[in-house]
Amino acid sequence: MNVHDYVENVKSGNIDVVEYIENVLEEAERINSAYNYYTTICSDLAIGLAKMVKNNPKGKLAGVPVSVKDCICVKGVETTSSSDILKGYKPVFHATVVQKLINEGAIIIGKTVQDEFGFGSFSVNVGKSFKVPLNPVDPLRSCGGSSGGAAGVAAKSNLVHLSLAESTGGSIACPSSFCGVNGFTPTYGNVSRYGLIDYGSSLDKIGVIGKDLNGVELMFDVIKGHDANDSTSIEHINEKKEITKVAVIKSAFDVDDKVKSIVEKKLSDIEYDEIELPLTKKYSLSSYSIIAMAEASTNLAKFCGMRYGAQPDITMPYNEQFTKVRSNNLGKETKRRIIIGTFARMSGYRDAYYIKALKVRQAIINEYKKTFKTYDALISPTMPILPPLLKNIENLNPLDIYKMDQLTVGVNLAGLPHLSSNAGYFEGLPVGMMVVGNHFNDNAIFDYVRKTW
Protein backbone atom coordinates (compact mmCIF):
# COMPACT_ATOMS: atom_id res chain seq x y z
CA MET A 1 0.00 0.00 0.00
CA ASN A 2 1.28 3.48 -0.78
CA VAL A 3 1.46 6.24 1.83
CA HIS A 4 -1.46 8.31 0.49
CA ASP A 5 -3.85 5.32 0.38
CA TYR A 6 -2.74 4.25 3.86
CA VAL A 7 -3.43 7.72 5.30
CA GLU A 8 -6.90 7.73 3.69
CA ASN A 9 -7.63 4.30 5.17
CA VAL A 10 -6.51 5.44 8.63
CA LYS A 11 -8.68 8.56 8.40
CA SER A 12 -11.74 6.64 7.24
CA GLY A 13 -11.28 4.03 9.96
CA ASN A 14 -10.70 1.16 7.51
CA ILE A 15 -7.33 0.57 9.15
CA ASP A 16 -7.06 0.26 12.93
CA VAL A 17 -3.93 2.32 13.41
CA VAL A 18 -3.04 0.82 16.83
CA GLU A 19 -3.20 -2.71 15.43
CA TYR A 20 -1.25 -1.64 12.36
CA ILE A 21 1.49 -0.05 14.48
CA GLU A 22 1.70 -3.20 16.63
CA ASN A 23 2.39 -5.12 13.41
CA VAL A 24 4.94 -2.50 12.34
CA LEU A 25 6.77 -2.86 15.68
CA GLU A 26 6.78 -6.64 15.33
CA GLU A 27 8.15 -6.32 11.79
CA ALA A 28 10.76 -3.79 12.98
CA GLU A 29 11.99 -6.21 15.68
CA ARG A 30 12.14 -9.07 13.20
CA ILE A 31 14.02 -7.10 10.54
CA ASN A 32 16.31 -5.58 13.13
CA SER A 33 17.42 -8.91 14.56
CA ALA A 34 18.71 -9.91 11.11
CA TYR A 35 19.83 -6.55 9.61
CA ASN A 36 20.70 -4.18 12.52
CA TYR A 37 18.84 -1.10 11.29
CA TYR A 38 17.69 0.32 14.63
CA THR A 39 19.64 1.60 17.62
CA THR A 40 16.36 1.86 19.57
CA ILE A 41 12.80 0.77 18.84
CA CYS A 42 10.52 3.02 20.90
CA SER A 43 7.39 0.86 21.23
CA ASP A 44 5.81 2.84 24.08
CA LEU A 45 6.06 6.15 22.23
CA ALA A 46 4.79 4.53 19.01
CA ILE A 47 1.75 2.91 20.66
CA GLY A 48 1.01 6.16 22.55
CA LEU A 49 1.07 8.17 19.33
CA ALA A 50 -1.02 5.53 17.53
CA LYS A 51 -3.71 5.76 20.22
CA MET A 52 -3.81 9.53 19.83
CA VAL A 53 -4.22 9.21 16.06
CA LYS A 54 -6.93 6.58 16.52
CA ASN A 55 -8.89 8.97 18.75
CA ASN A 56 -8.34 11.87 16.42
CA PRO A 57 -7.39 10.65 12.91
CA LYS A 58 -6.14 13.91 11.45
CA GLY A 59 -2.99 15.14 9.75
CA LYS A 60 -1.23 14.74 6.43
CA LEU A 61 0.70 11.74 7.80
CA ALA A 62 -2.02 10.26 10.01
CA GLY A 63 -0.72 6.93 11.29
CA VAL A 64 2.36 6.77 9.02
CA PRO A 65 5.23 4.79 10.62
CA VAL A 66 8.43 6.86 10.57
CA SER A 67 11.95 6.03 11.69
CA VAL A 68 14.35 8.79 12.71
CA LYS A 69 18.09 8.81 12.02
CA ASP A 70 19.98 8.57 15.28
CA CYS A 71 21.44 12.09 14.98
CA ILE A 72 17.98 13.72 15.24
CA CYS A 73 16.55 14.36 18.71
CA VAL A 74 13.39 12.59 19.84
CA LYS A 75 12.22 13.59 23.30
CA GLY A 76 12.76 10.83 25.86
CA VAL A 77 14.28 8.40 23.33
CA GLU A 78 18.00 7.62 23.43
CA THR A 79 19.69 9.72 20.72
CA THR A 80 23.38 9.04 20.14
CA SER A 81 24.44 9.68 16.52
CA SER A 82 25.56 6.05 16.98
CA SER A 83 28.48 7.22 19.13
CA ASP A 84 29.52 5.78 22.49
CA ILE A 85 30.16 9.30 23.76
CA LEU A 86 26.40 9.99 23.64
CA LYS A 87 25.31 6.63 25.09
CA GLY A 88 22.35 7.15 27.40
CA TYR A 89 21.50 10.67 26.19
CA LYS A 90 17.73 11.21 26.19
CA PRO A 91 16.82 14.62 24.74
CA VAL A 92 14.34 16.73 26.69
CA PHE A 93 12.87 18.15 23.49
CA HIS A 94 11.87 17.06 20.00
CA ALA A 95 13.82 18.31 16.98
CA THR A 96 11.59 20.71 15.00
CA VAL A 97 11.21 18.13 12.20
CA VAL A 98 10.10 15.44 14.67
CA GLN A 99 7.57 17.80 16.27
CA LYS A 100 6.20 18.68 12.82
CA LEU A 101 5.84 14.99 11.93
CA ILE A 102 4.01 14.23 15.18
CA ASN A 103 1.75 17.27 14.66
CA GLU A 104 0.69 15.74 11.32
CA GLY A 105 -0.04 12.34 12.82
CA ALA A 106 3.20 10.43 12.09
CA ILE A 107 4.14 7.56 14.42
CA ILE A 108 7.79 7.44 15.56
CA ILE A 109 8.95 3.81 15.51
CA GLY A 110 12.61 4.13 16.48
CA LYS A 111 16.09 5.51 15.84
CA THR A 112 18.16 4.22 12.91
CA VAL A 113 21.86 3.43 12.99
CA GLN A 114 24.44 5.49 11.08
CA ASP A 115 28.17 6.02 10.79
CA GLU A 116 29.22 7.73 14.03
CA PHE A 117 28.16 11.41 13.68
CA GLY A 118 27.75 10.74 9.93
CA PHE A 119 31.44 10.03 9.30
CA GLY A 120 31.33 7.46 6.51
CA SER A 121 29.84 6.18 3.28
CA PHE A 122 29.21 2.56 4.26
CA SER A 123 27.77 2.64 7.81
CA VAL A 124 30.73 0.54 8.99
CA ASN A 125 32.01 3.38 11.21
CA VAL A 126 29.38 2.88 13.89
CA GLY A 127 30.43 3.37 17.53
CA LYS A 128 31.97 0.39 19.33
CA SER A 129 28.73 -0.69 21.00
CA PHE A 130 26.65 -0.52 17.78
CA LYS A 131 26.13 -3.10 15.04
CA VAL A 132 26.83 -2.49 11.34
CA PRO A 133 23.59 -2.51 9.28
CA LEU A 134 23.43 -5.00 6.39
CA ASN A 135 22.24 -4.42 2.84
CA PRO A 136 18.58 -5.42 2.41
CA VAL A 137 19.29 -7.06 -0.96
CA ASP A 138 22.45 -8.92 0.06
CA PRO A 139 23.44 -8.97 3.76
CA LEU A 140 27.11 -9.53 2.87
CA ARG A 141 27.14 -6.03 1.38
CA SER A 142 27.00 -2.50 2.74
CA CYS A 143 23.81 -0.43 3.02
CA GLY A 144 25.79 2.68 2.22
CA GLY A 145 26.05 5.54 4.63
CA SER A 146 25.86 7.44 6.64
CA SER A 147 22.04 7.04 6.80
CA GLY A 148 22.45 3.26 6.35
CA GLY A 149 19.82 2.18 8.86
CA ALA A 150 17.31 4.68 7.43
CA ALA A 151 17.66 3.40 3.86
CA GLY A 152 17.84 -0.25 4.90
CA VAL A 153 14.65 -0.16 6.93
CA ALA A 154 12.82 1.83 4.23
CA ALA A 155 13.73 -0.87 1.69
CA LYS A 156 13.13 -3.91 3.88
CA SER A 157 9.79 -2.97 5.50
CA ASN A 158 6.78 -4.55 3.80
CA LEU A 159 4.45 -2.38 5.85
CA VAL A 160 4.25 1.38 5.20
CA HIS A 161 7.44 3.16 6.22
CA LEU A 162 9.21 6.49 5.70
CA SER A 163 12.63 7.35 7.12
CA LEU A 164 13.86 10.68 8.36
CA ALA A 165 17.52 10.94 7.30
CA GLU A 166 20.30 13.52 7.06
CA SER A 167 23.01 14.33 4.52
CA THR A 168 26.23 16.29 4.88
CA GLY A 169 28.08 15.13 1.74
CA GLY A 170 25.86 12.38 0.32
CA SER A 171 24.54 10.52 3.36
CA ILE A 172 20.98 10.32 1.98
CA ALA A 173 21.73 9.70 -1.71
CA CYS A 174 24.41 7.03 -1.14
CA PRO A 175 22.44 4.59 1.04
CA SER A 176 19.30 5.17 -1.05
CA SER A 177 21.25 4.14 -4.12
CA PHE A 178 22.72 1.04 -2.44
CA CYS A 179 19.34 -0.02 -1.00
CA GLY A 180 17.28 0.69 -4.13
CA VAL A 181 14.96 3.34 -2.67
CA ASN A 182 14.25 7.08 -3.12
CA GLY A 183 16.31 9.50 -1.07
CA PHE A 184 15.58 13.21 -1.15
CA THR A 185 18.01 15.86 0.12
CA PRO A 186 16.41 19.33 0.22
CA THR A 187 17.96 22.73 -0.49
CA TYR A 188 20.17 23.78 2.43
CA GLY A 189 18.10 25.86 4.85
CA ASN A 190 14.75 24.59 3.56
CA VAL A 191 14.31 22.23 6.51
CA SER A 192 15.11 23.23 10.09
CA ARG A 193 18.20 21.72 11.70
CA TYR A 194 17.05 22.52 15.23
CA GLY A 195 17.52 19.36 17.26
CA LEU A 196 19.98 17.81 14.81
CA ILE A 197 23.32 16.74 16.27
CA ASP A 198 25.59 18.69 13.93
CA TYR A 199 28.31 17.25 11.75
CA GLY A 200 29.12 20.18 9.42
CA SER A 201 26.72 23.03 10.15
CA SER A 202 27.02 24.72 6.75
CA LEU A 203 26.41 21.39 4.98
CA ASP A 204 23.90 19.40 7.06
CA LYS A 205 20.44 18.89 5.59
CA ILE A 206 17.60 16.78 6.95
CA GLY A 207 15.70 14.84 4.28
CA VAL A 208 13.55 11.79 3.60
CA ILE A 209 14.07 8.20 2.38
CA GLY A 210 11.30 5.85 1.25
CA LYS A 211 10.10 3.33 -1.29
CA ASP A 212 7.05 5.41 -2.22
CA LEU A 213 8.15 8.55 -4.08
CA ASN A 214 4.86 10.40 -3.45
CA GLY A 215 5.18 9.55 0.23
CA VAL A 216 8.72 10.95 0.32
CA GLU A 217 7.46 14.23 -1.16
CA LEU A 218 4.53 14.34 1.27
CA MET A 219 6.88 13.98 4.23
CA PHE A 220 9.25 16.61 2.82
CA ASP A 221 6.30 19.01 2.51
CA VAL A 222 5.51 18.41 6.18
CA ILE A 223 9.03 19.03 7.49
CA LYS A 224 10.05 22.01 5.33
CA GLY A 225 9.65 25.64 6.27
CA HIS A 226 11.25 28.41 8.28
CA ASP A 227 12.04 27.85 11.95
CA ALA A 228 13.05 30.71 14.26
CA ASN A 229 15.10 28.21 16.29
CA ASP A 230 17.53 27.65 13.41
CA SER A 231 19.43 30.75 12.33
CA THR A 232 20.29 29.19 8.95
CA SER A 233 16.69 28.25 8.21
CA ILE A 234 15.52 30.27 5.24
CA GLU A 235 12.33 32.24 4.98
CA HIS A 236 11.71 31.49 1.38
CA ILE A 237 8.69 30.81 -0.75
CA ASN A 238 9.48 27.78 -2.87
CA GLU A 239 8.58 28.74 -6.41
CA LYS A 240 8.16 25.70 -8.58
CA LYS A 241 9.78 26.00 -12.01
CA GLU A 242 9.00 23.01 -14.18
CA ILE A 243 12.01 20.94 -15.21
CA THR A 244 12.08 20.68 -19.00
CA LYS A 245 15.70 21.05 -20.01
CA VAL A 246 18.16 18.63 -18.44
CA ALA A 247 21.86 17.96 -18.79
CA VAL A 248 23.92 14.91 -18.00
CA ILE A 249 27.32 15.42 -16.40
CA LYS A 250 29.66 13.63 -18.77
CA SER A 251 32.63 13.00 -16.48
CA ALA A 252 30.29 11.52 -13.84
CA PHE A 253 30.12 8.45 -16.07
CA ASP A 254 33.73 7.67 -15.35
CA VAL A 255 32.47 4.96 -12.97
CA ASP A 256 32.22 1.18 -12.69
CA ASP A 257 30.97 -0.18 -16.05
CA LYS A 258 28.18 -2.08 -14.30
CA VAL A 259 26.80 1.15 -12.85
CA LYS A 260 27.32 2.94 -16.16
CA SER A 261 25.41 0.33 -18.16
CA ILE A 262 22.32 0.53 -15.94
CA VAL A 263 22.24 4.34 -15.84
CA GLU A 264 22.81 4.65 -19.59
CA LYS A 265 19.94 2.25 -20.20
CA LYS A 266 17.67 4.38 -18.03
CA LEU A 267 18.78 7.52 -19.86
CA SER A 268 17.96 6.07 -23.28
CA ASP A 269 14.33 7.25 -22.87
CA ILE A 270 15.28 10.74 -21.72
CA GLU A 271 16.22 13.79 -23.77
CA TYR A 272 19.31 15.56 -22.51
CA ASP A 273 22.45 17.53 -23.37
CA GLU A 274 25.91 16.57 -22.16
CA ILE A 275 27.95 19.05 -20.13
CA GLU A 276 31.06 19.20 -17.97
CA LEU A 277 31.57 20.88 -14.58
CA PRO A 278 35.37 21.16 -14.58
CA LEU A 279 35.81 23.00 -11.26
CA THR A 280 33.41 20.69 -9.44
CA LYS A 281 35.15 17.66 -10.88
CA LYS A 282 38.62 18.84 -9.97
CA TYR A 283 38.10 20.44 -6.57
CA SER A 284 34.83 19.41 -4.92
CA LEU A 285 36.12 16.43 -2.95
CA SER A 286 39.05 18.36 -1.42
CA SER A 287 36.99 21.46 -0.72
CA TYR A 288 34.16 19.44 0.79
CA SER A 289 36.40 17.26 2.95
CA ILE A 290 38.28 20.18 4.45
CA ILE A 291 35.13 22.19 5.23
CA ALA A 292 33.24 19.18 6.60
CA MET A 293 36.12 18.06 8.81
CA ALA A 294 36.91 21.59 10.03
CA GLU A 295 33.29 22.15 11.02
CA ALA A 296 33.05 18.67 12.56
CA SER A 297 36.14 19.25 14.69
CA THR A 298 34.54 22.35 16.23
CA ASN A 299 31.06 20.82 16.56
CA LEU A 300 32.47 17.81 18.38
CA ALA A 301 34.44 19.93 20.84
CA LYS A 302 31.40 20.04 23.12
CA PHE A 303 31.48 16.28 23.75
CA CYS A 304 33.59 16.01 26.87
CA GLY A 305 31.69 13.73 29.27
CA MET A 306 29.80 16.42 31.16
CA ARG A 307 26.03 17.04 31.30
CA TYR A 308 24.93 14.11 29.08
CA GLY A 309 26.09 10.89 27.45
CA ALA A 310 29.18 9.03 28.68
CA GLN A 311 30.02 10.49 32.10
CA PRO A 312 32.72 8.74 34.11
CA ASP A 313 33.37 9.77 37.70
CA ILE A 314 35.36 12.98 37.99
CA THR A 315 38.87 11.98 39.04
CA MET A 316 41.19 14.38 37.19
CA PRO A 317 41.63 18.07 36.28
CA TYR A 318 39.48 19.19 33.36
CA ASN A 319 41.96 18.87 30.49
CA GLU A 320 42.93 15.34 31.46
CA GLN A 321 39.33 14.37 32.25
CA PHE A 322 37.94 15.66 28.95
CA THR A 323 40.81 14.15 26.95
CA LYS A 324 40.26 10.76 28.56
CA VAL A 325 36.49 10.69 27.93
CA ARG A 326 36.97 11.71 24.30
CA SER A 327 39.83 9.29 23.65
CA ASN A 328 37.95 6.34 25.18
CA ASN A 329 34.57 6.96 23.54
CA LEU A 330 35.18 8.35 20.05
CA GLY A 331 35.76 5.92 17.18
CA LYS A 332 38.77 5.74 14.88
CA GLU A 333 37.27 7.59 11.90
CA THR A 334 35.95 10.30 14.21
CA LYS A 335 39.44 10.81 15.62
CA ARG A 336 40.93 10.95 12.13
CA ARG A 337 38.44 13.61 11.03
CA ILE A 338 38.92 15.66 14.20
CA ILE A 339 42.70 15.60 13.62
CA ILE A 340 42.44 16.68 9.96
CA GLY A 341 39.77 19.29 10.75
CA THR A 342 41.73 20.75 13.64
CA PHE A 343 44.87 20.90 11.51
CA ALA A 344 43.01 22.71 8.69
CA ARG A 345 41.96 25.44 11.15
CA MET A 346 45.27 25.83 13.02
CA SER A 347 47.11 29.11 12.79
CA GLY A 348 49.62 28.96 9.97
CA TYR A 349 47.52 26.47 7.96
CA ARG A 350 44.06 28.07 8.11
CA ASP A 351 44.47 30.22 4.97
CA ALA A 352 46.03 27.41 2.95
CA TYR A 353 43.36 24.85 3.77
CA TYR A 354 40.16 26.08 5.38
CA ILE A 355 39.82 29.53 3.76
CA LYS A 356 41.07 28.19 0.44
CA ALA A 357 38.44 25.44 0.55
CA LEU A 358 35.73 28.05 1.17
CA LYS A 359 36.88 30.15 -1.80
CA VAL A 360 36.84 27.08 -4.02
CA ARG A 361 33.39 26.32 -2.68
CA GLN A 362 32.19 29.72 -3.94
CA ALA A 363 33.64 28.97 -7.37
CA ILE A 364 31.84 25.62 -7.42
CA ILE A 365 28.54 27.25 -6.42
CA ASN A 366 29.04 29.80 -9.22
CA GLU A 367 29.69 26.99 -11.70
CA TYR A 368 26.41 25.27 -10.76
CA LYS A 369 24.44 28.54 -10.77
CA LYS A 370 25.72 29.34 -14.25
CA THR A 371 24.65 25.88 -15.45
CA PHE A 372 21.17 26.40 -14.01
CA LYS A 373 20.76 29.47 -16.23
CA THR A 374 20.58 27.06 -19.18
CA TYR A 375 19.33 23.83 -17.59
CA ASP A 376 16.64 23.03 -15.02
CA ALA A 377 18.24 19.84 -13.73
CA LEU A 378 21.45 17.82 -13.85
CA ILE A 379 21.61 14.03 -13.94
CA SER A 380 24.37 11.62 -12.96
CA PRO A 381 24.83 8.21 -11.37
CA THR A 382 24.64 8.50 -7.57
CA MET A 383 27.55 6.24 -6.58
CA PRO A 384 30.54 5.15 -8.67
CA ILE A 385 30.24 1.49 -7.60
CA LEU A 386 27.68 -1.19 -6.77
CA PRO A 387 27.03 -1.81 -3.04
CA PRO A 388 30.40 -3.23 -1.93
CA LEU A 389 31.01 -6.40 0.05
CA LEU A 390 31.63 -5.52 3.70
CA LYS A 391 34.81 -7.64 3.75
CA ASN A 392 36.25 -5.60 0.86
CA ILE A 393 35.67 -2.28 2.65
CA GLU A 394 38.17 -3.35 5.32
CA ASN A 395 40.95 -3.20 2.72
CA LEU A 396 40.24 0.38 1.64
CA ASN A 397 42.29 3.24 3.06
CA PRO A 398 40.56 6.46 4.20
CA LEU A 399 41.33 8.38 0.99
CA ASP A 400 39.83 5.57 -1.17
CA ILE A 401 36.71 5.74 0.96
CA TYR A 402 36.44 9.56 0.77
CA LYS A 403 36.63 9.26 -3.02
CA MET A 404 33.44 7.17 -3.04
CA ASP A 405 31.56 10.44 -2.47
CA GLN A 406 32.94 12.05 -5.63
CA LEU A 407 29.53 12.35 -7.32
CA THR A 408 27.59 13.63 -4.29
CA VAL A 409 29.90 16.11 -2.53
CA GLY A 410 29.60 18.84 -5.19
CA VAL A 411 25.84 19.24 -4.88
CA ASN A 412 26.07 19.04 -1.11
CA LEU A 413 28.74 21.76 -1.03
CA ALA A 414 26.44 23.95 -3.09
CA GLY A 415 23.37 23.06 -0.98
CA LEU A 416 21.39 22.01 -4.06
CA PRO A 417 18.30 19.78 -3.75
CA HIS A 418 18.73 16.29 -5.17
CA LEU A 419 16.82 13.06 -5.44
CA SER A 420 18.43 9.65 -5.84
CA SER A 421 16.06 7.05 -7.28
CA ASN A 422 16.57 3.51 -8.43
CA ALA A 423 17.59 3.25 -12.09
CA GLY A 424 17.62 -0.53 -12.23
CA TYR A 425 19.54 -3.56 -10.99
CA PHE A 426 22.80 -5.16 -12.06
CA GLU A 427 22.61 -8.88 -11.26
CA GLY A 428 20.16 -8.07 -8.49
CA LEU A 429 22.13 -5.18 -7.01
CA PRO A 430 20.46 -1.73 -7.05
CA VAL A 431 21.91 1.22 -8.98
CA GLY A 432 20.86 4.78 -8.16
CA MET A 433 20.57 7.80 -10.43
CA MET A 434 20.52 11.35 -9.14
CA VAL A 435 18.53 14.37 -10.32
CA VAL A 436 19.84 17.70 -9.05
CA GLY A 437 17.71 20.85 -9.16
CA ASN A 438 18.30 24.55 -8.57
CA HIS A 439 18.06 26.05 -5.06
CA PHE A 440 14.47 26.00 -3.74
CA ASN A 441 13.10 24.21 -6.81
CA ASP A 442 12.81 21.09 -4.66
CA ASN A 443 9.30 19.94 -5.56
CA ALA A 444 9.88 20.21 -9.32
CA ILE A 445 12.39 17.36 -9.02
CA PHE A 446 9.64 15.02 -7.82
CA ASP A 447 7.39 16.06 -10.72
CA TYR A 448 10.21 15.44 -13.18
CA VAL A 449 11.05 11.97 -11.87
CA ARG A 450 7.37 10.97 -11.75
CA LYS A 451 6.91 12.12 -15.34
CA THR A 452 10.05 10.68 -16.94
CA TRP A 453 10.92 7.46 -15.01
Binding site: S231, K359, R361, P398
Partner: protein
Amino acid sequence: MKIDKNVMQKIAKNARLELTEEEVNEFLPQLNDVLEYFSILNEFKEDIEPAFHPISIKNVYRGDIVEPSLSPSEALSNAKNKKDNYFKGPKVLK
Protein backbone atom coordinates in the same frame (compact mmCIF):
# COMPACT_ATOMS: atom_id res chain seq x y z
CA MET B 1 53.12 20.03 3.81
CA LYS B 2 53.73 16.77 5.64
CA ILE B 3 52.65 16.03 9.18
CA ASP B 4 55.19 14.32 11.42
CA LYS B 5 54.68 12.65 14.78
CA ASN B 6 55.29 15.85 16.74
CA VAL B 7 52.81 17.91 14.73
CA MET B 8 50.27 15.11 15.03
CA GLN B 9 50.64 15.03 18.82
CA LYS B 10 50.29 18.83 18.94
CA ILE B 11 47.07 18.70 16.90
CA ALA B 12 45.74 15.89 19.09
CA LYS B 13 46.47 17.92 22.22
CA ASN B 14 44.59 20.92 20.76
CA ALA B 15 41.65 18.64 20.01
CA ARG B 16 41.75 17.06 23.50
CA LEU B 17 42.56 13.62 22.14
CA GLU B 18 45.18 11.25 23.42
CA LEU B 19 46.37 8.99 20.62
CA THR B 20 48.01 5.66 21.31
CA GLU B 21 51.31 4.85 19.63
CA GLU B 22 49.38 2.42 17.45
CA GLU B 23 46.91 5.11 16.39
CA VAL B 24 49.69 7.58 15.58
CA ASN B 25 51.47 5.02 13.41
CA GLU B 26 48.25 4.11 11.63
CA PHE B 27 46.98 7.67 11.12
CA LEU B 28 50.22 9.35 10.06
CA PRO B 29 50.55 7.87 6.54
CA GLN B 30 46.78 8.02 6.03
CA LEU B 31 46.56 11.71 6.91
CA ASN B 32 49.57 12.58 4.79
CA ASP B 33 47.91 10.81 1.85
CA VAL B 34 44.79 12.88 2.38
CA LEU B 35 46.71 16.16 2.73
CA GLU B 36 48.66 15.43 -0.42
CA TYR B 37 45.38 14.91 -2.22
CA PHE B 38 44.05 18.22 -0.82
CA SER B 39 47.09 20.06 -2.21
CA ILE B 40 45.29 20.16 -5.57
CA LEU B 41 43.55 23.25 -4.14
CA ASN B 42 46.85 25.14 -4.57
CA GLU B 43 46.13 25.15 -8.29
CA PHE B 44 43.08 27.34 -7.70
CA LYS B 45 44.38 30.91 -7.98
CA GLU B 46 41.23 33.04 -8.18
CA ASP B 47 40.81 35.36 -5.19
CA ILE B 48 37.10 35.40 -4.44
CA GLU B 49 35.03 35.72 -1.29
CA PRO B 50 34.93 32.49 0.74
CA ALA B 51 31.48 30.82 0.91
CA PHE B 52 30.76 30.11 4.55
CA HIS B 53 27.27 28.95 3.54
CA PRO B 54 25.87 27.57 0.26
CA ILE B 55 23.18 30.23 0.14
CA SER B 56 23.18 33.79 1.45
CA ILE B 57 22.26 33.86 5.12
CA LYS B 58 21.18 36.96 6.99
CA ASN B 59 21.78 37.56 10.66
CA VAL B 60 18.66 36.90 12.67
CA TYR B 61 17.81 38.92 15.77
CA ARG B 62 14.94 38.56 18.18
CA GLY B 63 13.62 40.82 20.89
CA ASP B 64 15.13 40.42 24.34
CA ILE B 65 11.98 38.79 25.68
CA VAL B 66 11.89 35.98 28.20
CA GLU B 67 10.20 32.91 26.74
CA PRO B 68 9.35 29.53 28.29
CA SER B 69 12.46 27.38 28.48
CA LEU B 70 13.73 24.22 30.15
CA SER B 71 13.36 23.91 33.92
CA PRO B 72 16.55 23.23 35.92
CA SER B 73 15.44 19.65 36.54
CA GLU B 74 14.89 19.08 32.81
CA ALA B 75 18.22 20.69 31.95
CA LEU B 76 19.95 18.46 34.50
CA SER B 77 18.02 15.30 33.65
CA ASN B 78 20.87 13.76 31.63
CA ALA B 79 23.65 14.74 34.03
CA LYS B 80 25.22 12.15 36.28
CA ASN B 81 27.49 14.58 38.09
CA LYS B 82 25.41 17.40 39.56
CA LYS B 83 24.89 19.28 42.81
CA ASP B 84 22.33 21.87 44.03
CA ASN B 85 20.80 22.48 40.60
CA TYR B 86 24.23 22.85 38.98
CA PHE B 87 26.30 20.66 36.70
CA LYS B 88 29.37 19.38 38.46
CA GLY B 89 32.58 19.44 36.43
CA PRO B 90 36.25 18.71 36.98
CA LYS B 91 38.52 21.25 38.72
CA VAL B 92 39.71 24.12 36.54
CA LEU B 93 42.19 25.62 39.02
CA LYS B 94 44.72 23.50 40.85
